[in-house]
């Protein structure tokens, strides 16, 4: 409860001191939390922090459609902050015009999201809690471990339920492309469900490979409960392993896959008589 009060206090202060022109957060009039831009300190009493809500894309639209001197504060969680940073890195958002009021998530929330990093860079609100390792979590295990063939069947079963609502894309804080490749017949056959599964989901997943901040927005938005976020885990891990890179943590650092091996080397697998190959062809 106290967190909410802290939040309100901070936001009030920022608005009273005119440091910000507006603060984006959840406003709960008659028990319906909706996103809202608080512009006067009086309004702030209706500010709430639950449920988890991703503001990044919203913030982007607000900043874009508001006058050039409008400075927006955002009450957001770790994942959301990282999303904002990724948007800034992609020139979708001007960092000078936003101010993050960071909130650390509760342990429960972290577990619900399988979040490895349930806190922003500077948690103004709440206490940092340990992140969870998705690979430890039971349901996740079922999707990430076991024999290749089992994983294949597991995922086929899940993805075959896709109703192509585009919710995973729409709710993703980083997907901003218009037009989107997923709507293009060339990549994903239109007008059929389940969506042209391999293409739709893998292309979506891969486009976010070095951008995904593991906010879990896609999973939450899936009507048929496909744990889409799990598609990203392995790729995020490999980025972390190869380059100690995690999306959204360092505004100054571009994705390592965009640079050459001089700048950011990665392990190159060498097979005798078969130089510079990236995979073992056979154990024999």
């Amino acid at each position: 409860m106290s967190i909410v009060n802290d939040a309100r206090a901070i936001v009030k202060k920022l608005l009273e001191e005119k440091q910000l022109d507006g603060v984006l957060g959840l406003s709960c009039k008659h028990d319906e939390p909706v996103p809202f831009v608080f512009e006067s300190p009086e309004e702030v009493d209706s500010l709430v922090l639950e449920p988890k809500w991703l503001f990044a894309k919203l913030a982007m639209n607000i900043v874009r459609t508001s006058p050039a001197d409008f400075r927006l504060g955002i009450v957001c969680r770790g994942c959301d902050e990282r999303a904002l940073i990724e948007l800034i890195k992609r020139n979708q958002l001007d960092e000078k015009r936003i101010h993050v009021i960071g909130m650390a998530c509760s342990r429960e929330q972290a577990e619900a999201c399988l979040c490895t990093r349930p806190y922003p860079a500077i948690p103004h609100l709440g206490e940092k809690v340990q992140g969870v390792d998705p690979r430890e979590e039971e349901t996740a295990k079922a999707f990430l471990e076991g024999e290749t063939i089992d994983r294949m069947q597991r995922w086929t079963k899940e993805l075959a339920r896709c109703i192509k609502c585009y919710g995973c894309r729409n709710s993703c804080p980083i997907c901003v492309c218009v037009p989107c490749k997923l709507e293009d017949d060339l990549w994903v056959r239109r007008g059929e469900i389940p969506a042209d599964m391999v293409s739709y989901h893998l292309i979506r997943a891969f486009h976010l490979s070095d951008t995904c901040v593991a906010c879990g927005g896609c999973t939450d938005a899936c009507p048929v409960g496909i744990p889409l976020m799990l598609l990203q885990i392995a790729m995020r891990e490999s980025l972390a392993k190869e380059y100690e890179y995690e999306a959204g943590t360092d505004p100054g650092r571009l994705s390592p896959v965009l640079s050459d091996l001089f700048v950011e080397p990665c392990e190159v697998y060498e097979e005798p008589g078969w130089p510079d190959s990236f995979k073992v062809s056979d154990e024999t």
């Binding site: 449920p51 409008f70 609502c165 585009y166 239109r190």
Partner: protein, 676 residues
């Protein structure tokens, strides 16, 4: 920079998901899911995500228009209303009250529908009011209210989680009710066996544990066979039958003729599979039946529903938390429209017009003499246009595309002396109107929708109607007053209160109680929390009634001229007559042209390749469309969605009506397919 989010309800299917519409300088710019919504829980389907796209479409009607010669000319509101009122009055005086009829709308709020049916009933002393429920769940209402006492979905959407067996008849929920499908999958993951009965191998079917790909229209044999097997193996719920039902003997009697073998031959399913399914359903601790258009849209639709009720009662799978019968309603407010009496045979709350006590009650409530003669149904109204019916008032319906045998409709409508169409776009139907009134869409009105699980939910006004358009509530009030009714409401809430007074099942429903989660009727008192599932302990009608379902196979069987069975229906990115979805760029991009699905082997046999232009014909008419070759169709069956006005599937459908509920047989007619 003002950012505004308004919570409201999705205008598409009967699931009634919560939406947040983002408004920027009085335009709706985006849709977000409502994370707190009891059903959707922060998810949406493709249509929901695009719900805002048609709101500000340039095609929106912005002012009343009168047809002079062949062209529409704008006229001021007072003139329009005055004209409508006088015309209707004249007609009623000249040809008697039953010459006037009204088609209400499952797209409009409960309040609108209530006012509409009251306007027709009290204004002209006729019961000629109906709406498109006739074309989807007419039989459901008829049969279920006769057998159980209530035509509504017995349980709640969330109740699928916890059932041991979920049996889906003729429902492609994955495309038509995606969010409900999500719940069903959840149920499946929690251990329910999912059995799907569908002549198409839909996505649902593919993801089911068992798929019975029966012949179109052979549901009764299937269910008959199942029931027979259940009886033969003493799997029926004897206690339940004894305590809570009547006329069981007659069912037994009827089942004599349905040996499993005969049944399996009729529906083209192996006897073993049929037995297996029967066992699974009967043995399940709690079992749900989901059914949809595949059951109802047949000439024996009502019988089909009876059969389903029988099956459920036979096994005692009704009236508890996770077992019941779930007709999935198609339109966002089709449930509500029925509840508030936009039906020719009942007053609000399913109170029969033939019942003089009720008539008396409503005459007192409305202060006008009423008719005790049940009115005409949609299909009857259309077909008797110009003969029985002289003046017709259509609110937000598009019979031209939604009703069977389009050509017939096209012939009938011009025969009317006077046709008023109130809609948001100039629909195919509206083009035939003498007077067009610009109405409002879901985002422009306050009121309530009732979703398929009887949940009455509040929607809030987000933006003003475009131009001179007014919200339907206001229009109806104006018209009502012009007809001398006491229509001086200022706020839909008052209408809801009035409804509460006259309809017991909604007696406790008031705007201020609805909040974000809404209320599920029956809600008889102001302190009643609403009802999650019906028939607990005792059926609404007292004892459950076994009604013998008379089986009639589809009227038109394939022959050598018309070798295919044509099934019509919906697909995921479009909605009904496409008035809204075809105007949403995103949805229309997903599927922008009509198609007909055909089995690869059939295609081969007819030398048709994927994407070919083909001519699809029946005895009624023929359309040009594109072939989509997919193994999801059985041999001999083809499927065409009816969203596309350029290739209207209902130019083909047969006008064969179900004797009781008067629903047309959309789901089966003989067709031929040739490459163009």
């Amino acid at each position: 920079m003002k950012l505004e989010f308004v919570k409201t309800i999705c205008p598409y299917c009967g699931t009634g998901c919560g939406l947040l519409l983002q408004v920027r300088d009085s335009r709706v710019v985006t849709t977000l899911p409502d994370k707190k919504h009891p059903v959707a829980k922060g998810t949406l389907c493709i249509k929901g995500w695009a719900a805002h796209e048609f709101i500000h479409h340039p095609d929106r009607l912005t002012q009343p228009m009168l047809k002079k010669g062949d062209i529409f000319q704008p006229i001021p509101w007072d003139e329009a209303i005055g004209l409508a009122a006088t015309k209707f009055k004249e007609t009623a005086e000249k040809y008697g009250p039953d010459a006037v009829a009204g088609l209400s709308s499952a797209k409009c709020t409960n309040e609108d529908n209530y006012l509409f049916q009251k306007l027709i009933r009290a204004g002209f002393m006729t019961n000629n009011v109906d709406h498109c429920a006739r074309l989807c769940h007419g039989p459901t209402a008829a049969a279920m209210s006769q057998a159980l006492g209530s035509g509504a979905m017995t349980n709640s959407i969330t109740d699928f989680v916890g059932a041991d067996c979920i049996m889906m008849f003729g429902s492609n929920a994955a495309e038509t009710h995606p969010i409900i499908m999500g719940e069903i999958y959840k149920g499946k993951d929690q251990g329910a066996t999912l059995i799907v009965v569908d002549p198409r191998r839909t996505e649902v079917a593919r993801n089911a544990d068992i798929h019975l790909q029966i012949r179109p229209g052979s549901d009764i044999p299937l269910i008959g066979g199942m029931m027979r097997h259940i009886l033969d193996n003493k799997l029926e719920a004897k206690e339940f039958i004894k305590e809570r039902t009547e006329d069981f003997a007659e069912l037994k009697n009827f089942l004599k003729e349905w040996s499993v073998r005969k049944a399996s031959e009729e529906c083209g399913i192996s006897p073993d599979q049929l037995r297996q399914v029967a066992q699974i359903y009967a043995r399940a601790g709690e079992a749900m039946i989901v059914f949809c258009m595949g059951i109802t849209q047949h000439a024996c639709g009502t019988a089909n529903v009876f059969a389903i009720c029988n099956l459920a009662m036979l096994c005692g799978h009704v009236g508890s938390a996770h077992s019941g019968i779930c007709p999935l309603r198609g339109q966002n407010n089709v449930q509500g429209a029925c509840d508030v009496g936009a039906l020719p045979n009942v007053y609000p709350g399913y109170q029969s017009v033939a019942d003089l006590v009720m008539k008396d009650k409503f005459e007192r409530a409305w202060g006008r003499p009423l008719s005790d003669k049940p009115g005409m149904t949609v299909t009857e109204i259309i077909s008797s246009s110009g003969t029985g019916i002289r003046a017709l008032y259509i609110m937000a319906e598009n019979p031209l595309l939604s009703d069977p045998n389009q050509n017939h409709v096209i012939e009938s409508l011009p025969k009317l002396d006077f046709l008023v169409v109130q809609d948001i776009f100039l629909t195919e139907t509206a083009r035939f109107a003498d007077l067009v009134l610009p109405g409002s869409c879901f985002a422009e009105k306050t009121g309530t929708f009732t979703n398929t699980e009887r949940r009455i939910q509040l929607l809030h006004k987000v933006v003003d109607p475009p131009g001179d358009a007014k919200d339907d509530f206001t229009i109806l009030c104006m018209l009502g007053r012009a007809l001398g009714l006491d229509y001086d409401y200022t706020d839909p809430a008052q209408v809801m209160d009035e409804m509460a007074e006259v309809t017991p099942i909604m007696a406790g429903v008031h705007f201020n109680r609805l909040g974000s989660a809404g209320l599920q009727w029956p809600c008889p008192a102001d302190d009643h929390p609403g009802t999650r599932f019906l028939h607990a302990g005792k059926f609404t009608r007292g004892k459950g009634l076994f009604v013998v379902p008379g089986y009639t196979p589809p009227k038109e069987m394939p022959d050598k001229d018309y070798p295919f069975t044509l099934i019509t229906g919906r697909m995921f990115s479009h909605y009904h007559t496409g008035t809204m979805t075809r105007r949403s760029s995103f949805l229309n991009r997903e599927v922008d042209k009509a198609f007909v699905e055909i089995n690869p082997d059939d295609a081969d046999a007819h030398g048709i390749q994927d994407g070919d232009k083909v001519r699809l014909s029946t005895r009624r008419g023929s359309i040009s469309t594109t072939a989509r070759i997919t193994p999801r169709m059985n041999r001999g069956a083809i499927f065409a969605p009816f969203h596309f006005s350029e290739a209207p599937a209902n130019a083909l459908t047969i006008e064969e009506l179900d004797p009781i509920s008067k629903i047309p047989e959309f789901k089966a007619c003989a067709a031929s397919l040739v490459k163009e």
